[in-house]
Amino acid sequence: MDFRLTEEQLALQETLRRFIAKDYNFERRRSLARSPLGYSAQAWAQYAELGLLGLPYPEEFGGLGGSGVDIMAVMELVGQGLLLEPYVSTVVLCGGLLRDAAARAIKEALLPQIAAGKLQIALAAYEAAGRYELAHVASTAVRAAKGWRLTGRKSVVLDAPSADYFLVSARSSGKRTDAEGISLFLVRRDAPGLTLQAYPTQSGGRAADLHLQDVAIDDDAVIGAPERALPVIERAVDQGIAALCAEALGIVTALNEATLNYLKTRKQFGTVIGSFQALQHRMADMFIAAEQTRSMAIIAAIQAAGDEPATRRRAISGAKAYIGQAARFVGQQAVQLHGAMGVVDELNVSHYFKRLTMIDMTFGDADHHLARFSDALRVEAIGAAS
């Protein structure tokens, strides 16, 4: 049992810390969020140079063979720096999914490109009526003479506007909420019949709704087993969730630092407000929440890639639920303790808070994951009793 980061991980974090201080300060970040692209192409190239974009892939595909903890180390800094680049979508979610489930030829074709910063992919797995349920797939995949034809709508596909490919879930059998019958397709951005409606998100990134109208797909663009893709998608999303948990940790840490600093400097009635006991105790609660958040992020990082779905789900849903709640508490209190300064655009506190909120709303909020955790507990408890 060892809770220390390795020398390499610490060095990586230090590099990112310097990068943020030098190239990604708050003003720069604000202008990037307002730019048409919504992030820094230059930063993306720098990530490639640092090896971040190939971090979780085997060396044979141009990667560094990194672990979930390596991703956690990176994502903690992504949170602190409020970095806007589509790291989770491309590197963790889609790249990770291809690494775990794609045919060797696809991995050889795409993973080195991702690692080199030349390719982005976005996951189009959620539909409006399904809310956070990945099994809810009304989009259809119909067998064609050669390959498949996809028709349907995918909503709020994160980082879609800059993506070169999409991973799209569609159904060729079963009812629209069945776990079986779902396949996953690699769809080119410029595929005929694919339309995007792009927009910015509340925390500065970009997303789009996708409309597929009879989009033709080759057979070799099917990822994983046809009609049995749900477990593959769920595992990839679980890894994405673990990454978001670490990002939330970075933000919670940054907000606590900012708030503590504010309490020590802001004066009211002739004294620093940090001398008021009610605020001291609040800050102590925020400290505790951050420590507990770190523990949950560790659990998620280590279990995210697990093969056994029940164990993985317990860890991932547990972490996402807990961190969703803890981060909501810290975010709301950081704003509250900053007073009016907490609700203005010109200070980073409001941006941290918005990003934390959007992390909670992504891939299932705290309530969704608490329910998943709780329902797993039922199975376990009844199993233990019988």
Binding site: Y126, A129, R131, E133, Y199, G339, A340, D345, F353
Partner: protein, 403 residues
């Protein structure tokens, strides 16, 4: 003890409802219901309509053109207005500066300003907070130096709400530094068109322009615009705060938001079924509804006591502010959560009244969705402004509990 309204009150409610049904413009109602961006004209137009009906200022005395409503009548009006989708009236004018004018201003000041307020002619904003002087208001530094028939005002006010629309600002200014900070403050009325005033927008967390910094650079203010006595402004400021408090709970607004939340949860889907069928999400709604059920009665109990005892609301109204602000925050939070991933898009243009969603969006992104996330962010202010929750608990602790 009974919770029933009298026949007269019920009749009044019917009258209010009929009036709202007939007179509230459809475009304004729609903006309020959909949370679209309001313009100055919307609010002024509505004030003028109310004025024509004789309801420009419900609780003002009749001698100033008010309707002389009881607290219960005002409560009924607020509740019906909120339910109908009427916008709020401008509290800074009607509930804040006006009571001060009525109690402390000269007849000339009253005769000039009050009619212009009630008919919607003048828009008022507030100049209280300064950088470094928020909760600790008495430490304010904006100075007003008497020079013959004028004061020369220099300084900065901040967290000013909707000053970009304002014709007038009422300001606390420092006219003396000799004694305790509270004793050198005066209450000045300043024409926003005066040379030397600069309004600088402060963009809030939701990307909107609702508040401002206001800079005063040697602004000349006629001495006739002093309210009451020089250096007695702190008294008027405290008097004003007690009036600000009377609608602290915001019950009508909360009720509308709760109803809206239920509609949203009924229309949003989860795995193909209405979200409201998820007992867990529903329990969250239920929990807030219980707080609101209790607060509605608590609010009426406080207002009744105030009215029965013919006194100004006391420190016990701090609880209405604390609970009311928490409830509206929780409702906004649940409205956002009901959206699921649809909480993520940030569509600035969707807050315009004439927004038509792109066809690809329209098939799932409901008309109610665009403002909800920004509203959740924005409403974090409710536990901060007008006396933060922490300040309100200090008040309860000291003035109610004697700690």
């Amino acid at each position: 003890m009974n919770l029933n309204y009298t026949a007269a009150e019920e009749a009044f409610r019917a009258e209010v409802r009929a009036f709202l049904e007939a007179e509230l413009p459809a475009d304004i109602r729609s903006k309020v219901r959909l949370g679209r961006r309001m313009q100055k004209d919307d609010l002024v137009r509505w004030q003028k309509i109310l004025y024509r009906r004789g309801w420009g200022a419900g609780m003002w005395p009749q001698r100033y053109g008010g309707a002389d409503w009881s607290v219960v009548e005002q409560h009924i009006f607020d509740e019906e207005a909120a339910a109908a989708g009427a916008p709020p009236q401008i509290a800074f004018a009607l509930r804040m500066v006006a009571p001060v004018l009525m109690s402390f201003a000269t007849a000339a000041q009253q005769n000039y300003f009050l009619p212009r307020i009630i008919c919607g002619e003048d828009w008022w904003c507030q100049g209280y907070s300064e950088p470094g002087s928020g909760s600790d208001l008495a430490s304010l530094r904006t100075s007003a130096v008497r020079e013959g028939a004028h004061y020369r005002v220099t300084g900065q006010k901040t967290w000013n709400t909707l000053g970009q629309y304002a014709d007038w600002i009422f300001c606390l200014v420092r006219t003396s530094s000799d004694a305790r900070p509270q004793q050198g403050i005066s209450f000045l009325l300043i024409d926003m068109k005066s040379p030397g005033i600069t309004v600088r927008p402060i963009i809030t967390i939701d990307g909107e322009h609702e508040i401002n910094d206001i800079f005063f650079d040697n602004v000349q203010v006629p001495v006739e615009n002093l309210v009451g006595e020089e250096n007695k402004g702190w008294t008027y400021a405290k008097f004003l705060l007690s009036h600000e408090r009377t609608n602290n709970a915001g019950i009508g607004n909360c009720k509308r938001a709760l109803k809206r939340l239920k509609e949203i949860a009924t229309r949003q889907s989860q795995n193909g079924r209405p979200l409201i069928e998820d007992s867990r999400f529903r329990d969250r709604i239920a929990q807030v509804e219980l707080e609101l059920m209790a607060l509605e009665i608590t609010n009426l109990r406080v207002l009744s006591a105030v009215s029965t005892e013919s006194r100004a609301p006391g420190p016990e109204v701090s609880l209405l502010k604390i609970k009311g602000s928490e409830i509206i925050q929780q409702l906004a939070e649940l409205q956002m959560h009901a959206l699921g991933h649809d909480a993520l898009p940030y569509l600035r243009e969707a807050l315009e009244v004439d927004w038509v969603p792109a066809p690809l969006l329209a098939d799932h992104y409901a008309a109610f969705a665009p403002p909800l996330t920004g509203q959740y962010f924005n409403y974090r202010k409710t536990t901060i402004y007008a006396g933060s929750t922490e300040i309100q608990k200090n008040i309860i602790s000291k003035l109610v509990l004697g700690l």
